[in-house]
């Protein structure tokens, strides 16, 4: 079963946690990315994620498999949202269970760091002032898009 899922409905941290229960694991680390109300000095109202499913899933699985192999973790799983998200919504969930906490922390951090820069997922911020913009597109700003950074982290 795939360890990387794209979801168009709310992420369920409780259910995801229950699925990872394993008596071989002594340490469990979760990262959640939440939609926050500001970014780069602007007030954010909501976010919109666009995902290219086939490669987001296959590349996500590869990232998770490589982190599991490198750090000897018991299990890892990730979910990323697509579609419209409101303030406070969970945009991404990464859970790692390992025998010891060090492996769990390192693998979880590695997975989310790579997910943010390697998966074909794009984020559009909608601002309170009515403007909007694609995050990280300042370097392809021929047409005047200059928004930086991100309203989750």
């Amino acid at each position: 079963m795939s360890r990387m899922v794209i979801s168009d409905v709310s992420i369920d941290p409780q259910g995801l946690r229950a699925d990872m229960a394993d008596v071989r694991a002594g340490g469990f680390v979760v990262f959640e990315g939440w939609v926050r109300n500001h970014n780069d000095g602007r007030e954010v109202q909501r976010l919109e994620y666009e995902v290219y499913h086939p490669l987001a899933i296959s590349e996500g699985e590869r990232i998770i498999a490589e982190a599991c192999a490198a750090h000897g973790v018991v299990d890892a799983f990730a979910v990323h949202r697509e579609g419209l998200l409101e303030l406070g919504d969970c945009a991404v969930w990464v859970g790692v269970a390992a025998r010891h906490r060090d492996e769990a922390f390192v693998a979880c951090r590695e997975i989310i760091d790579r997910m943010k820069i390697e998966l074909p997922i794009w984020k559009k911020e909608h601002y309170v002032d009515g403007d909007s913009g694609w995050v990280n597109c300042e370097r392809c700003a021929s047409h005047g898009h200059t928004h930086k950074h991100t309203a989750t982290s």
């Binding site: 990315g33 666009e50 290219y52 086939p54 490669l55 590349e59 990323h80 945009a91 991404v92 989310i112 997910m115 943010k116 820069i117 390697e118 998966l119 074909p120 997922i121 794009w122 984020k123 559009k124 694609w134 995050v135 990280n136 597109c137 370097r139 392809c140 021929s142 047409h143 898009h145 991100t150 989750t152 982290s153």
Partner: protein, 80 residues
């Protein structure tokens, strides 16, 4: 002259005004094709921040393209 299918995503799709189009090109590599299409997606150089996939797999900008290929042009990603 070869014909390829080009797919645009996110910012590129908005700029091009379409998600997909057939393109006639003399480009040998993905980066050459990308630069030929600057008037569509609005970006001069993709290296270091944009990605490309060819026929369903992530590719390098220097990879060759062939007649009938499907080329996906990805603006800078921002997961999480």
């Amino acid at each position: 002259m070869k014909q390829v299918a080009v797919e645009y995503f996110a910012l590129f799709r908005e700029r091009a005004g379409c998600a997909e189009e057939a393109v006639q090109t003399t480009a040998t590599t993905a980066v050459e094709l990308f630069k030929e299409l600057e008037h569509r997606h609005g970006t001069d150089d993709p290296r270091g921040h944009c990605k490309v996939a060819i026929n369903g797999a992530m590719a390098d900008w220097d990879d060759n393209i062939a007649d009938g290929d499907r080329v996906l042009l990805f603006p800078p990603v921002a997961g999480g």
